[in-house]
């Protein structure tokens, strides 16, 4: 029988996500995929598998799940309260999820998007090379209670590993580069943009995050008649009401609102993970500095597997302590 993850309960924003489907801009389809790409890499590192495998992305709220087989899981991204059969388990860590055990994941304690990764990955139907739901394009649908998600074969590996993570759930400074339409804005508007602390609005989705600030809104010199031009994830458009909107991976592919700057890909997770009311500030860097930052971010992702630590658990809180193999390497002698 095929290994499956049974969904008993799911928050409204739970979807299957992988690295998305790049390559379809010319037909108007944005890449989509996980809102927090780094969280995908972290889950893959925790389970020792490729980051191309699909995971469950949980916007704000998790759900209740059950495995049909013994599974390995990892939890990354926005930290959420999680428990296996009622016993709390650590976030940013890998765990064993035995067949029949119930995994419950609650609301996000910080950030927006939590991720549940399964050893072997989730193998729902792929379309144009990706299993990602792209709700804006009408591809796929949120995961709902009663669904059984097919899983891939797991090559196996250790669990109970913990990953130290880059904090990215509290907002802060976001690096940007000038982009093709930055010159549509007067110098003083750009300076004001860089000096303004913005709060993320409740109007946020996988398409993008709206920002609000006290004081005047922002205006370009071209107004509402600029020719529609290519849009890419990370672009910060100034919409008709003068407020910035940071576009994420499920954005539109062209747009007429002028773009004041573009967020570095490696800082986009920080924007995606900024829950409503989080403060973000933007800082311009040069293109060379941006490329160097991306190089460091790639090296960091590649080094994730080397950063894993054993998960220390409090024995007093382990209910089924006797089921654990407490001393490894000791055998009955017949198998050596």
């Amino acid at each position: 029988m095929r290994r499956e993850l049974i969904v008993h309960q799911a928050g409204p924003g739970v979807t299957v996500q992988d690295l998305g489907r790049p390559g379809y801009l010319s037909v108007g389809l944005s890449p989509g995929g996980a809102a927090d790409r780094l969280a995908l890499a972290e889950g893959a590192a925790l389970l020792g598998q490729p980051d191309s495998l699909a995971a469950l992305e949980m916007a704000g709220m998790g759900g209740a799940f059950e495995a049909t087989d013994d599974l390995r899981i990892a939890l990354t991204g926005a930290p959420m309260r999680a428990a296996i059969d009622g016993e709390p388990v650590a976030w940013n860590a890998s765990h064993a999820l035995p067949a029949g055990a119930r995994l419950s994941i609650g609301g996000a304690q910080a950030g927006s998007y939590g991720y549940l990764h399964i050893g072997g990955g989730i193998e729902t139907r792929a379309w144009l090379g990706s299993r990602s739901a792209h709700l804006a394009a009408g591809l796929g649908a949120p995961v709902a209670a009663g669904q059984r998600l097919p899983l891939g074969a797991d090559a196996g590996g250790p669990v109970e590993r913990l990953m130290p993570v880059q904090p990215r759930f509290q907002g802060g400074e976001v690096r940007v580069v000038p982009s093709l339409q930055t010159d549509f804005f007067p110098e003083d508007e750009i300076a004001r943009f860089e000096a303004t602390p913005f709060q993320t609005d409740t109007r946020a989705s996988r398409r993008g995050v709206r920002l609000v600030a006290e004081g005047e809104t922002f205006h370009s010199e071209v107004g509402l008649s600029v020719l529609s031009e290519i849009v890419v994830p990370g672009d910060i458009q100034i919409t008709g009401d003068g407020t910035p909107f940071v576009l994420l991976h499920e954005c539109q592919t062209t747009g007429g609102y002028p773009r004041i700057a573009a967020v570095l890909p490696s800082d986009l997770p920080k924007v995606a993970q900024a829950a409503p009311g989080t403060t973000l500030r933007f800082r311009f860097v040069t293109l060379d500095e941006a490329v160097e930052a991306e190089r460091r971010a790639e090296a960091y992702r590649k080094g994730l597997r080397g950063s894993l630590q054993p998960l220390i658990r409090d024995p007093a809180r382990i209910r089924n302590l006797l089921a654990y193999q407490l001393i490894s390497g000791v055998t009955a002698g017949r198998d050596i």
Binding site: P22, G23, Y24, L25, S26, V27, G28, L29, W127, A136, A137, G138, L139, V177, P178, S179, L180, Q181, T182, D183, I190, A191, E194, G223, L224, S225, L227, S228, E229, I230, V232, G234, D235, T239, G240, D241, Q252, T253, T254, G255, G256, Y257, A262, V263, L264, P265, F284, V285, T286, L287, A290, V291, E294, R295, E298
Partner: protein
């Protein structure tokens, strides 16, 4: 702050500019024109044939060719030089339209409750409702690019009277198949969407059909004639997967 990346946006066209950290854009004008649109399409085709090292994807917008590349393995200066060489190799503004174009006829309801902003748009253009409908349906428009949403065409170029700006506020939601207008162009939305464009027509056409063998129906260069029909006629066409649209290959 530093603005070196965007400083080279001179008045001279074609211009090469950066898009974020991993994109370059070759633009053939600041405004939409037939030659600039043809140039963008032809340049993308040539770029795909030349396949410079490091390029991962290409696309066109109305008057520009976009490419995405891996800046960790190909530096901006080197790729920019490749693009400049290709630019210098031909007169892109004189290029032909893409081969294999199709001519479409798409049944459309102009105005009524189904497209409530026709009168407002007509007034902004200084036209009566009747003249507006005639202007939008008497001669074919061309697919100038596909973008915003999957399969979504930008159609134009409309008569100069239609050079009206987007509205400052967003319409909360227009339905799939909505035909909306701004700055001498029409767009036909494949999915329900919020928009700053004015909703002047309604079709049953779905330019993106994920389950179909050919998920994307229109291509840049295709011609589209919008045939006025009654709301009742459109209702009858809603079950047709192509919303009553027909097409033939152009010679």
């Amino acid at each position: 702050m530093t603005r070196t990346a965007a400083q080279d946006t001179g008045a001279r066209w074609p211009a090469i500019r950066t898009v974020g950290v991993d994109g370059l854009l070759v633009s053939f004008g600041a405004e939409l024109s037939e030659p600039a649109n043809r140039a963008a399409l032809a340049f993308r085709a040539a770029l795909d044939r030349a396949a410079p090292e490091g390029v991962e994807e290409s696309s066109t917008s109305l008057v520009s060719t976009y490419l995405r590349f891996d800046p960790l393995h190909r530096d901006h200066a080197g790729l920019r030089a490749d693009l400049q060489r290709l630019l210098d190799s031909a007169d892109w503004y004189a290029a032909d339209l893409p081969a294999g174009r199709r001519a479409w006829r798409i049944p459309t309801v102009f105005g009524t409750d189904l497209a409530p902003q026709l009168d407002e748009a007509a007034a902004a253009a200084g036209l009566t409702r009747e003249a507006a409908i005639a202007s939008l349906s008497d001669s074919p428009v061309r697919v100038q690019t596909i973008g915003f949403a999957p399969g979504q065409p930008y159609l134009g170029q409309l008569d100069g009277a239609w050079n009206i700006p987007r509205q400052s506020g967003l319409t909360e939601r227009v339905p799939a198949g909505a035909l909306c207008l701004a700055i001498r162009q029409l767009v036909l939305f494949p999915v329900p969407t919020p928009t700053g464009w004015r909703h002047v027509g309604q079709t049953a056409f779905r330019p993106f059909r994920p389950e179909a063998e050919r998920p994307f129906l229109l291509r840049p260069g295709d011609e589209v004639r919008l045939d006025p029909v009654s709301p009742e006629r459109l209702d009858a066409l809603r079950d047709d997967p192509e919303g009553g649209a027909t097409s033939e290959t152009l010679p």
